[in-house]
Symmetry: C2
Subunit: 186 residues, 2 copies
DNA sequence: TCGTTGAGTCAACGCCTGTTGAGCGAAATG
DNA sequence: CATTTCGCTCAACAGGCGTTGACTCAACGA
């Protein structure tokens, strides 16, 4: 009639995953403070107490929900760095919920801010290593900030002018700007 | 001994201003949800009930705190638009608390998001009007997003690589990138 | 001088939050 | 079949929140 009665271990794994997925979505949509354990539990069709039992507390649940595998590939030339950043941006137009969740909360939740700073600094380091000339760290940081701004404007603030454009157009329009930052300035 | 006993009207005006200043600072530092009426009242050395009496509710207090006079000056040429944006960025390195408060909450507080969208769209419109060629709205939006990203990275996330650089270096490094966006692309 | 106004306080309300410990019942184990 | 394990729920707690209404008392106007 109902479920084919899965083994207990499997059932447990699936429930935990369901909670994690629900948490990710809600954190991504409303941020850390506006997302309640109760809402997560309801979305996962589970008792709030179970969420606590599996993840300990709200902060740990958030930390688990925003955990994401980082690429850690590095570029050899400035052109490669630019194309790599543009590539992640193309991907980011469908940013994974985990990253969205972190970005959404990074301005108001201290731990999300720390995670964001860490991830961005890593990117700055990688990009900076591929840039020539003086002031490479600053220019790498600015390139990262550019992508941050576009991502925030597009995915989080949902600015009309960015939403109306195709991903390809955005990438194409951004390329010269990033190239300009990749070269040592005047 | 104590105060020289100001007239009632003046005293009232000053108290209201003290509350508003405290609210701005706390909203800018912690965002909407993490800032409590009680904390604002304490910072203004006033009873929480007085905050409600003067501003009605927390949302209205926030709205008052983030209100800011917008410049509304428009550029005639692409170069002028670029310099104007860089100028506001130079200023933004010491961004007024009201703007900081709005930016801090724009990702998690719906009304702050609406205010931010409005302000950014206005800027996109102004910049776009000064740009030549096709796709001007998109390029204007990207220029705005670039400044947003740099501001967020510098003021809110406080990325080391941006904090370590001087304002002039940032403006100088950014200029070619914005110029590239100001011109019609390939 | 006396009644009125209004700036500011006090104590409390109802609500929602994260979090906890006891308990149930079905699956696992022997 | 008897027993243990454990996924999961239930009911409740303490604390903090925004918000309210009654009150106090000094400044004001006549």
């Amino acid at each position: 009639m109902t479920e084919p009665a899965l083994p207990r271990a499997e059932r447990r794994r699936r429930t935990e995953q369901r909670i994690l997925d629900a948490a990710r979505d809600l954190f991504a949509e409303h941020g850390f403070e506006r997302t309640t354990i109760r809402a997560v539990a309801a979305a996962a069709e589970v008792d709030p107490a179970l969420v606590m039992q599996y993840f300990g507390n709200k902060r740990r649940l958030f930390a688990e929900a925003v955990r994401v595998a980082d690429p850690a590939d590095s570029a050899a030339s400035p052109e490669e760095a630019v194309e790599q950043l543009l590539g992640t941006l193309g991907v980011k137009m469908r940013l994974p919920p985990a990253s969205l969740a972190m970005l959404r909360s990074m301005l108001t939740h201290p731990e999300a801010a720390a995670t964001a700073r860490e991830a961005l600094s890593r990117q700055v380091g990688q990009v900076g290593a591929a840039l020539p000339g003086e002031g490479a760290p600053l220019r790498a940081a600015l390139m990262t900030a550019v992508l941050l701004g576009v991502t925030v404007g597009h995915q989080l603030l949902e600015l009309d002018e960015l939403r109306e454009a195709s991903h390809d157009d955005i990438v194409a329009a951004l390329r010269p700007a990033l190239r300009a930052l990749a070269e040592p300035g005047a």
